[in-house]
Amino acid sequence: MRRCLFFSAIFLILLTLPFLVSHYVVGIFILIFYYAYLGQCWNVLTGYTGYISLGHGIFLGIGAYTTAYLFLSFGITPWLGMLIGGLIAAAVGLFMGFLGFRFGLRGIYFVLLTIAFAELGRIITLHIKALGSFTGLFIPFKPSFLNFQFRGNIPYYYIAFALMIFSLALVRIIERSRLGRYFIAIREDEDAAEALGVHSFRYKMISLAISGFLTALGGAFYTNYIYYIHPNTVFGIIPSIEIILRPIVGGMGTLFGPVVGSFVLTPLAEFSRTYFAKGGYEGLHLIIYGFLMILVVLFLPQGIISYIEKPLKSLLNGDHRVRRSEAEDASFGDKRPS
């Protein structure tokens, strides 16, 4: 009951928020939702099956470029274009999986393969004239629902919010289903899972395809929110790192990890990016990312969520013995709008 109340309260607050805060803050929330969504997409693969991908940029880029290209060249609405981009991304994911999983390549090999794909996507796109090569693609501003273009950023807020909720619901369903159990079995001990009859190749492929498809939708959103895409900003290793950072900090392999990670990290990243760029310290925010990646793995390997999960649960279940920990919950609550 309390649980239900808690989540609906947050839901309602987030739903009314854009009318209460400034344009700038709404923009930050859009990014929070956007990165929570992408983190969740990555989580489907890496969090649940344990196969680390450092190349989700390939899916993001495919989604962004397919949508933009179909819209610019054929006038196809981005709503359809993003689905096509998703399917292409899923196909590329399956090809990648076929290469990586066929020999049961584990750990490092798979990581390298994903990086290679993301970089390959970036380099090839840089050399395709039809995709704008080194100048990137500009989307002309013709606001209409069909064009996925809106005045002001409040519609984008709701779209990003919907994406995040959608990904949460989907991952929740996967987590509870047989499919999710198989994923987790593969993550925990692939040999044992296989011995028990889990067809690990098939489930890894499914996980990669779902993850790729969803990430591409995020790429399509990016295209239509920023109106400009360049291979270096959507493909390659830097966007891929941006994607994985939130779920790692929040706690990978958990439902709310990416969301918590994004609520903590995205505002921090945005403020530091604007602040340092103004001060002429380009790249300083990436140095901070670097230290974060080291420190989180060394000292917080389970992510932030592991520290707030228990107190939060006891609060929601009305367990009065653990009152003391409510102080910690309050700090969690602060990350959300109040």
Partner: protein, 289 residues
């Protein structure tokens, strides 16, 4: 004409490949001993290049001498990184081991950017423009020197691993960490030394690279990726594999630029990587999986 060009590119690629080999040997050594892939490898090389660059610009020391300083500095960096970070994550799942080293790569790359700016620098050294003719093929001298020194360092490293006690301990730890501990080898210390040597060889390679390519902070991850492809080609953890793989990749990349623009040369190495993963994922020289 075309054949002549192919020969010229082939030889030039082979010479660059010697330096690639040295880079990849460092990566392979680190992987062989710790089972950890150094995702900051290329960025470490860039630091080696910057050290050699500043020693040349400020003090006029040619990179062929300052490579000792580059190697020494990177040795220290590798030692510290291993001691503070990598030794603590050796028992983590592979997936988690990757992240701190990528973080280190980001730190190295962007601190270089912060200190020295994004400009491309190519210092004019005394030998920069000198060439020699081999028959009717023109070769640039810095590339030949880089090749010779890289092979020499690789050979010394090989001797070190085969003949000295420390070298034998490193190989023992690579072979079986627990077994090495049981016979009294201080494995943690050996780990530190191994990472340091791996970093030192890439630092030396950086100094050798300085006359060959323009220097900028963002070179790093291209070289990290090139080194990965080489060790996958040669077999992870195999020193001989890294050596041969480097030469092959150097030639392949160089010949590739006959057909595709140089900015796409990575397509060649990634294609090689995909083909190897399809046909012989353990690499040409076996190695660990």
């Amino acid at each position: 004409m075309s054949l002549h060009l192919a020969i010229k590119f082939g030889i030039s690629g082979l010479l660059t490949g010697g330096v690639y080999s040295l880079i990849a040997i460092g990566l392979s050594l680190i992987f062989g001993v710790m089972g950890v892939i150094n995702f900051a490898h290329g960025q470490m090389m860039v630091w080696g290049m910057y050290i050699a660059y500043w020693l040349f610009v400020l003090l006029g020391i040619e990179p062929y001498f300052s490579l000792l300083v580059s190697a020494g500095a990177l040795f220290a960096m590798g030692f510290v990184v291993q001691k503070l970070v990598v030794n603590r994550i050796l028992d983590y799942p592979e997936a988690m081991q990757v992240l701190p080293l990528i973080g280190l790569g980001l730190i190295l790359e962007n601190s270089a950017l912060l200190f020295w700016g994004p400009d491309h620098r190519s210092p004019q050294m005394s030998l920069s423009l000198s060439t020699i003719w081999l028959g009717d093929v023109m070769l640039d001298v810095p590339r030949i020197i880089a090749f010779v020194i890289a092979l020499l360092i690789a050979f010394l490293l090989f001797l070190f691993l085969k003949k000295t006690d420390t070298g034998k301990a490193i190989r023992a730890a690579a072979d079986n960490r627990l077994g090495a501990r049981l016979v009294g080898i201080k494995v943690d210390h050996i780990n530190n030394i191994s990472f340091a040597i791996g970093a030192a060889s890439v630092g030396a390679a950086g100094a050798l690279m300085l006359p060959l390519i323009p220097l900028c902070p963002h070179l790093g991850h291209d070289f990290t990726l090139t080194a990965f492809v080489i060790v996958i080609l040669g077999g992870l953890g195999s020193i001989t594999g890294a050596m041969v793989g480097g030469l092959i990749l150097g030639v392949a990349e160089s010949l590739g630029t006959l057909f595709i623009p140089p900015s796409m040369k990575q397509v060649v190495s990634f294609t090689i990587m995909v083909v190897i993963m399809l046909l012989k994922p353990q690499g040409l020289f076996g190695g660990k999986r």
